[in-house]
Subunit: 198 residues, 2 copies
DNA sequence: GTCTTTACAACTTACGAAAATTGTAACTTG
DNA sequence: CAAGTTACAATTTTCGTAAGTTGTAAAGAC
């Protein structure tokens, strides 16, 4: 049992919570490992036994947020409705979630954007999970699909204009209805196209 | 005839050329109106008679680059081949052009990215021209298309994952062949989808 | 032995003062 | 009169220096 009284996983979780709160309150650029440590009552060096560096702590913060988002979307995907509807909901909810996050927690959202810009594994892994969800829903929505994984990649790519974190930011001035309407139309066109080329 | 011996349009053009060269050489963030003026042999205040501000000068630099790009693509679009092929070429060349620019002139490319981030008119207008080209080619590739303008907007949106300047940057580590192959597949799927929903 | 602290070097950020830049108005020039 | 310069105020950037941060190794604590 460590001297802090917290198990390693508990300390990591606490560190992520503290870091998240500090980013929200003071800004992404102002996150200091020393501050997080002080708030946890340990020296900053103690945190390096749990995170390989500041970047790793940031990844954990982003990963935590992405996990919550993923769980939210999982509920949506598993809900009732035809496969195409659920696929559409997956995309729409994804955009809504990001738009809301960008407005409510702009600094935490910036952490996410930075992780994306830097092609961090935590974001890349999340993308793969998303693609897997798409593949599963596509396999249902388009019977006899030759290669659901390939199709999912195509659909995902066509969605980046709407869902990429930097583009979500860029589109904040455009009404959500307009974005969603366009997303629906693109998605529908892609699905029809996949049905026509299987 | 102005005291510089240059007509207004000539001076503007010279200023754009000088600014471009300085951005390429010293970086986007280092562009100074005062330096451009000095190199032109005028006071910096004289430039404000031709540009409404530094931002306007930057827009002119980006606009100049976009004009060259547009002319390059115009040749491509007007070339031989079936409409779908030409549409495909329009997209592929667009991505190639940007990838090359990002590698060859990263600072000038950053000027373009900043203009995009800031939703500057010069970039928005360029997007409209591009969409118009798409609409024209789509009208040929998909006979009896109800609304070519709407369809063009959808195709354009599906292409942002590949063509948006920030995403082009993000994709630089991915081989060009892979990007292009995916783009082709998405485009083809969109076209088949449009044919199936007209 | 595990987990932490302390100490430290290399690097980054903060800060204040000075310098430079931007945009504008008044003035000058041809 | 058009087109430029000079002068100026507000703002931004630069720069040197001090303070702070990051990551690591050695030492300490339980």
């Amino acid at each position: 049992m460590p001297r802090t009284g917290l198990a390693p996983e508990e300390l990591k979780q606490r560190a992520v919570e503290v870091a998240s709160a500090r980013i929200k309150a003071a800004g992404y650029a102002k996150l200091r490992v020393t501050d997080v440590a002080a708030e946890l009552g340990v020296s900053h060096a103690a945190l390096y036994g749990h995170f390989s560096g500041k970047a790793d702590l940031l990844d954990a913060v982003v990963g935590h947020w992405l996990d919550i988002a993923r769980d939210t979307l999982l509920v949506t995907v598993s809900g009732p409705g035809r496969p195409e509807e659920r696929l559409e909901t997956l995309m729409i909810e994804r955009v809504r979630l990001k738009r809301a996050a960008a407005v409510r927690d702009p600094e935490l959202y910036e952490a996410y954007c930075q992780a994306t810009d830097r092609l961090r594994d935590v974001v890349q892994c999340h993308k793969l999970v998303w693609r897997d969800q798409i593949a599963r829903l596509l396999a249902e929505a388009v019977p006899d699909l030759n290669d659901p994984a390939k199709a999912a990649l195509l659909v995902q790519s066509s969605m980046y204009g709407f869902t990429h974190p930097r583009l979500v930011l860029e589109n904040l001035d455009t009404p959500g209805d307009e974005i969603e309407s366009r997303l629906r139309a693109v998605l529908h066109t892609m699905i029809v196209g996949l049905r026509g080329t299987r």
